[in-house]
């Protein structure tokens, strides 16, 4: 794994008039590996945008180190920083396109900044139009486009200078669910085909689940939990994480279970990978004289990985139930008693 971006102990204070400085980031550290899609999730005001914007120094951290591709950006001069920024693409919630420029001109803009010859620009823009599927709309102005199309222009523009990383600030928050899906799958394609690392921030767990490999959860200017999406999803620890997870999954922390008073012992079983589709539970229980009842369950996919989660009541002797739990564990399932 090659490290692409490293944020070390970032602190950001916003100076306010007639008030104490507001601390938006409190010692955040983050490592981004080449080729991954990393998601940051948090409630409004958690500091997500501030974190994202400190990577290309749109917001200069009060203290801490920002390393991108081996260079400490906070130590660079203006010209060098501008060069570095060309390799850090960025897309925005509100697209931020030039309203006076056509789709084509908008995509050509960063290339013009990089002083590419006209012919090379034309060729590159054609490729990008093709990539985002806007060749037919190339001469239209932003106001004539739908939100999804505008974001596609934003993506094409961000990719123009062949960046190593794409920073996405709530890229789908202004879009309807269908359009969100199409933009997310475009981002995933870009990640796969071009190997571009993506860092996205969102307040929707659905976005994280759809395309991210790893996730960090932010609250009050800190990362409170992080790991692979599957791990965080299946074993959320922090209360805020549990909240996010419960938004997209109905298996966890439900009140219905609290009220449940069955005869047996209730366990939660997490499946991951191809195992999800195997009759593991049945096979294990069959070897004993115990029985089981499924109280709740989901089987779904996290990005490409299938996963399942069952909440099961095991009825039988303690000995049998213990044996089942041990055996499930040996077969690679995560079992926890509730």
């Amino acid at each position: 794994m090659i490290l692409l971006i490293e944020l070390i102990d970032i602190e950001k204070q916003y100076i306010r008039k007639k008030a104490e400085p507001f601390i938006a980031l409190r010692g955040v550290s983050l490592k981004l590996e080449k080729g991954e899609i990393f998601g940051v999730i948090g409630r409004s005001g958690a500091g997500k945008s501030t974190l994202l914007r400190s990577i290309n120094l749109l917001e200069r951290p009060t203290s801490g180190t920002v390393i991108v591709g081996g260079d400490d950006l906070t130590k660079l001069g203006e010209k060098e920083l501008q060069e570095k920024r060309k390799k850090i693409g960025m897309i925005f919630q509100h697209f931020n396109l030039l309203s006076t420029a056509t789709v084509r001109e908008n995509i050509a803009f960063p290339l013009k900044i990089s002083k590419l010859p006209a012919k090379a620009i034309r060729q590159k823009v054609d490729e990008l139009l093709e990539l985002v599927g806007l060749t037919a709309q190339q001469h239209q102005y932003p106001r004539q486009l739908s939100g999804g199309q505008k974001q596609r222009v934003g993506i094409a523009r961000a990719l123009a200078n062949d960046p190593d990383v794409l920073l996405c600030d709530e890229a789908t928050s202004a879009l309807d669910p269908q359009t969100t899906d199409s933009i997310l799958s475009l981002l995933r394609d870009i990640n796969r085909k071009m190997g571009i690392t993506i860092l996205l921030i969102t307040h929707e767990m659905g976005v994280i689940r759809a395309i991210c490999d790893r996730v960090a959860v932010m609250e009050y200017g800190q990362i409170v939990e992080s790991g692979t999406v599957l791990d965080v999803f299946l074993n959320p620890v922090h209360p805020i994480t549990r909240e996010f997870v419960s938004e997209v999954s109905d298996t966890l922390g439900s009140e219905a279970l609290n009220a449940f008073a069955g005869a047996g012992r209730v366990v939660r079983i997490n499946f991951r990978g191809e195992q999800t589709y195997e009759p593991v539970l049945y096979e294990t229980v069959r070897g004993t004289s115990a029985t089981f009842a499924i109280l709740q369950g989901t089987v779904s996919r996290m990005k490409d990985v299938p996963y399942g989660q069952l909440i099961v009541e095991l009825r039988g002797s303690d000995e049998d139930v213990n044996r089942i739990i041990t055996e499930l564990g040996q077969r690679g399932l995560a079992v926890s008693e509730l």
């Binding site: 749109l58 501008q82 803009f109 102005y141």
Partner: protein
Amino acid sequence: MMMWMNAEQETPKTVWETLETFFAEVDPKMISKATNETLYMLGYSLLFTVILGLLLGVVLFLTSDKQLLGGKLYARILYAVLSFVVNVMRSVPFVILMILIMPVTKMLVGTSIGVEGSIPPLVVAAVPFFARLVESALREVDRGVIEAATAMGASRGMIVLNVLLRESRTGLIAAVTITAVTLVSYTAMSGVIGGGGLGDLALRYGYQRFRLDIMVVTVIALVILVQILQMVGDALVRYFSRK
């Protein structure tokens, strides 16, 4: 006034005939010469005003709070100084400004009277006005777009040229139109120091020699000029508008 009353007392005439007699003494050559002078003054003063005012407006915008250079100490000082100078200049009435800067005018164009002599005061009066209009037009540009350009690695110069001036172009055209119309009325005032042009004509004949006919013609000419300026300005705004 006398002529008007005489005409009334004679045998009744059609409106057209009345107008014909009223304007009979107006020398078309005189009017066209004055119109040309006005256009000349307007053209040059507008040209210099736009160039200098655009520069000043951009500097005011960039150094103002929370903008591209905002927050840095030198920017804050520069903004405070420029802003003060602009305010002072805008608070001096044009007629007084004209007299006040006469020595400077003489240095610049060799004379402080006539058509040439009125151009420097026109520019000096219009630049601060236009610069403020430019500053507020630039403020209308979506901050997000400026930010996107910064994130792309654009330098400040590029952002000014390719984002700020481009995105605010309809606002800038409207600002030029307003300034042009204001300059037309200033050129009329420059008649006070023998500036020439339509205003000078109206003042000399209409006011000093009671020639109401000439006064009316010059006013009509000024109205037409302002109308044309406004229409052209509006048409350009419509053409460049993409919102």
